[in-house]
């Protein structure tokens, strides 16, 4: 059953349209991540769901009922939202967490038990009397989360819940989120610009770009089969090549790209102008030509290597630039260095093909492989997308 139904929601800020007709159904008990770059409309959407703002057009249904102004506070009391950069009241931690219970007129006897249990759950037992304004970023976030969860809401809206948090606080907050969804069947909507977080937490992901909801699907769908170039760029598909399908036999297509031919599993017909997307972690590197089932193998020279945590990002010039993301250990085992001749391979099933017909999205933000390959400029030291992400 749908918990929230959003129909053709539009929003304007001054002359700028920040939400362009978003329609979406959120099921009871699901974790939905709204991902997208900063300024894509994620916060605007969450604020409209929480009835904090009035939409310019469109409507939000809650439990299949339209939210009228009279019902607004009543509906909002079944939802909790943790705002981006949450603010705590200039009061004790206890008073902060008790606030939503007080406004709901809980009995004086019931409040202490609920507040203390919640503070224990989020690991802030003993902080009751501390002024919430004196806490660290991670602790403040926990207070905000405890305050949002203390009423057992049916829906929890989280706007960038872990932005600017250290990895330990991030892990514990993600754990709470998952636990509340699992134990209480709470519907959770998370807005995040971090795609990996969406993948870790969500049953479904919606991708927002420039005020539009461009793709909604399971995490694997979003990461492996992005619906357009903007999504592909955002979810870390670093290898995007322009090409044309020269043949397609039973779904196995030959694609001509930059004077090279590669194979892909796709339904696109012969003659179609396409974009070829290959995730960097799908590209393997070997010193000898591979004997594996990888149908696409290209010899080339290592142009750049950048280490990032346990991973190494390798740019290989195969006549076109191919980016591979391998573990640092693999790079060390292979003895990779700039200028070395290697073989880059990827499977035909690892290639995702997007039609170029009627698409003007090639101007999407973010550097593309083709631009750096054709311009002849020295490649960037930094990868276009810093988050290293390995889909499961």
């Amino acid at each position: 059953m749908s918990q929230i139904e959003i129909a053709d929601l539009q929003q304007r800020h001054g002359s700028r349209t920040t939400l362009k007709g978003v329609s979406l159904t959120i099921e009871k008990g699901e974790v939905l991540a709204i991902i997208g770059p900063t300024g894509s409309g994620k916060t605007t959407l969450l604020r409209l769901i929480d009835q904090l703002d009035k939409p310019a057009f469109g409507r939000v249904l809650f439990d299949e009922r339209e939210v009228t102004p009279r019902l607004r506070t009543k509906i909002r009391r079944r939802i909790s939202m943790v705002l981006q950069k949450p603010v705590v009241f200039d009061a004790s931690v206890y008073d902060n967490v008790a606030y939503p219970l007080r406004v709901r007129k809980y009995s004086r006897k019931a409040i202490p038990e609920k507040v203390n249990t919640m503070l224990q759950t989020v690991g802030l037992d003993g902080y009751q009397k501390r002024n919430a304004r004196t806490l660290s970023g991670g602790e403040t976030q926990k207070v905000a989360l405890a305050r949002a969860l203390v009423t057992d809401p049916q829906v929890l809206l989280l706007d960038e819940p872990t932005a600017n948090l250290d990895p330990v606080s991030l892990n514990s907050i993600e754990e709470f989120i998952l636990r509340f969804n699992r134990d209480k069947g709470m519907t959770i909507v998370i807005a995040t610009h971090e795609m990996a977080q969406g993948q870790r937490l969500a049953h479904r992901i919606g991708v927002m770009m420039d005020g539009e909801l461009v793709q909604v699907g399971k995490p694997a769908d979003i990461f492996y089969t992005p619906s357009d170039l903007r999504v592909a760029h955002f979810v870390g598909v670093e290898n995007i090549l322009k090409g044309r399908i020269t043949s397609n036999e039973g779904g196995l297509a030959q694609i001509e790209t930059n004077g090279h031919s590669l194979e892909a599993v796709t339904d696109h017909r012969m003659g179609a102008e396409v974009h070829v997307c290959i995730r960097p972690e799908e590209v393997t590197i070997s010193l000898q030509p591979p004997s594996s089932s990888a149908r696409n193998s290209f010899g080339g020279e290592v142009k750049l290597m950048a280490l990032s945590g346990p991973y190494a990002r390798v740019e290989i010039d195969c006549g076109f630039t191919l980016i591979a993301l391998i573990t640092r250990r693999s790079a060390e085992d292979l003895g990779l260095k700039v200028g070395q001749q290697v073989h880059a391979s990827f499977k035909a099933t690892a290639v995702h093909v997007i039609s170029r017909a009627g698409s003007n999205q090639a101007e999407a933000p973010g550097p593309t492989v083709e631009s750096s390959a054709t311009s002849g400029e020295p490649p960037d030291i930094k990868p276009p997308n810093q988050s290293l992400f390995f889909p499961s």
Binding site: R47, D50, L52, T73, R76, R77, I79, S80, M81, L83, K85, P86, V87, F89, D90, A91, Y99, P100, V103, R104, R147, A148, T151, L157
Partner: protein
């Protein structure tokens, strides 16, 4: 008396200041400009205005408030109304904008949200109260016109100072002035202590 007028003014001004602060309406800037202009309204003008309202032939004449402490409280409350509204608006606008969204998203009604913001702004609001009280306790024009400086009834420190000064008793007038400042000091310290406890 000044405390009574400050409390009376606060009861009226805090909700009005809240409304002005939270609602966006046409002419809001103009209203704020007018309020700020009225900060410097002469006390005698306010006294005269209230006198015209409560004198025998005035619209509130039947209550018989002329030359009573009630009239003085009314006059002083009206005198400090612009300052109290203005201070409320500026105190509330100093509160983080997301506090309102936070309270609403935690289930507060509009009125509960406003109350939470007022609590967040309590220090600035306290300063507004002290300022309003200061203007009320130190004014002489309205007190003279509305109270009539009747000994033991409507004579207050400022009217007494004025009277003593005109009679040449400068030392007594100065002593009254010091007493008045001491009263103000006690009030200011009390307000600050109460704020820090919360």
């Amino acid at each position: 008396m000044s405390a009574a007028s400050t409390i009376l003014a606060a009861l009226v001004c805090i909700p009005i200041g809240g409304l002005i602060s939270f609602r966006s309406f046409r002419g809001k800037r103009f209203v704020l400009n007018m309020i700020q202009t009225l900060y410097s309204v002469p006390t005698v003008c306010v006294g005269l205005f209230v006198y015209l309202l409560i004198s025998h032939s005035g619209p509130l004449g039947r209550f018989g408030w002329a030359f009573t402490p009630t009239a003085m409280v009314l006059g002083q409350a009206l005198l400090i109304t612009p300052i109290m509204i203005g201070m409320t608006v500026s105190a509330l606008s100093g509160v983080d904008k997301t506090i309102r969204d936070t309270t609403l998203s935690l289930g507060a009604s509009e009125a509960q949200a406003i109350w939470a913001i007022i609590k967040e702004a309590r220090f600035a609001m306290g300063a507004g109260l002290i300022l309003g009280f200061g203007r009320a306790i130190s004014e002489v024009g309205a007190a003279l016109i509305l109270g009539g400086n009747i000994a033991g009834y409507t004579r207050v420190l400022t009217t007494a100072i004025s009277l003593e000064a005109t009679q040449g008793n400068f030392d007594t007038a100065l002593a009254f002035g010091i007493i008045l400042l001491c009263v103000a000091l006690v009030i200011a310290v009390t307000v600050n202590v109460v704020q820090q406890r919360r």
